[in-house]
Symmetry: C2
Subunit: 208 residues, 2 copies
């Protein structure tokens, strides 16, 4: 990839060139993370793989953690928007299916293994991964708010806690117990979270 070479002055807006440099650097970061892991991440090699000047990479990203943090920001920005199927079960099923597809896709599964490993080794990577999930939980929270407004679950249901409950059994199999992650796993995670939500387990206070 040669994003920087295509940025002929006068033909590409500065914003466009910046975006292309970022895309090339993040693609190289992603490839390096998957191939060798966080410990082998080196700014010189990323600059070379992305065909971007070393100075640019050092100035804009500063460190391997800077690269991982920006990659996770980009992943959060690129992620699929929350669904609005009209029922909480439909929306949670869409969410669980999205998580399942992401964690079983041959392209994205190794990337998630790599960022989870980086976060386990490095506190700043952990903060960046936390930021990724905070963004995703905020994006999907309206699904729960709308269901509460429709009276499907208690009004005081903690949206992010319910969404964590849907994702947790899938991530547990993916990153902790290393067991197969099937459509049935996703469907059961939805049924369990929905049943618990309806019973008020995720309510932040007692509702009438």
């Amino acid at each position: 990839m040669s994003a920087s070479k295509s940025a002929t002055p006068g033909t590409v807006r500065p914003g466009g060139r910046t975006a292309k440099v970022r895309a090339a650097v993040l693609e190289a970061t992603r490839d390096a993370l998957v191939a060798e892991g966080f410990h082998a991440l080196h700014l010189d090699r990323i600059a070379s793989a992305a065909e971007v000047g070393k100075t640019t990479v050092y100035r804009r990203w500063g460190s391997p953690v800077g690269l991982v943090a920006d990659l996770l920001r980009d992943m959060a920005e690129q992620s699929v928007a929350a669904s609005d199927t009209g029922s909480l079960e439909g929306d949670l099923t869409a969410n669980a299916d999205l998580v399942r597809r992401t964690l079983t896709d041959p392209g994205s599964a190794p990337l998630f293994h790599a960022v989870i490993a980086a976060a386990a080794c490095d506190g700043d990577c952990a903060a960046a991964l936390n930021g990724f999930y905070t963004t995703r939980l905020k994006e999907w929270a309206p699904v729960v708010t709308r269901a509460a407004e429709r009276g499907e679950i208690p009004a005081s249901t903690d949206a992010t806690e319910l969404l964590r409950a849907v994702a947790a059994p899938l991530y547990y199999r993916f990153a902790i117990s290393h067991e197969p992650l099937t459509e049935e796993t996703a469907a059961r995670a939805v049924r369990a979270a929905l049943t618990a939500a309806q019973a008020g387990v995720y309510a932040t206070r007692t509702t009438p």
Copy 2:
């Protein structure tokens, strides 16, 4: 630690010496994993730190993965036995509290981060971590079987799936979203899993 030096021939049974060598090597493995991670694990350095001959370490463990796999076997063997409080809620609470304490203890939390990272990077480490959780789930499965016999939950409840549901929200916060893991997190995981189990979400077939 100098397990090999204390093994004076004739004073210590061969089994005792073997056990001491293993304890010293696994302690050194644990320390190295926490301090530098799986990628920096080297048999020569483990032998040196454990004050055990290199030949012994290479012959008995063979590779860094061999060390991690044996450490995880030892962790499974040393783990707390399943409780039997007389109620499913009591037993699941004991289980969730055990997981919470393990993942928040300053001694064991870094070790779990390290083995989760190792498993994310290396397929053989993943298989070893899978073995650890398989052992733990088997150890605790009677808790669910007894509850089913008492009629607390459907007879066909999948014991391991219910136990995964208790642990998953705790591990999700620990290793995925990197959020605080509180007593309330553990209590809510128990209430959610129990409610879902009672509603038949973890039943493997429809029961009368």
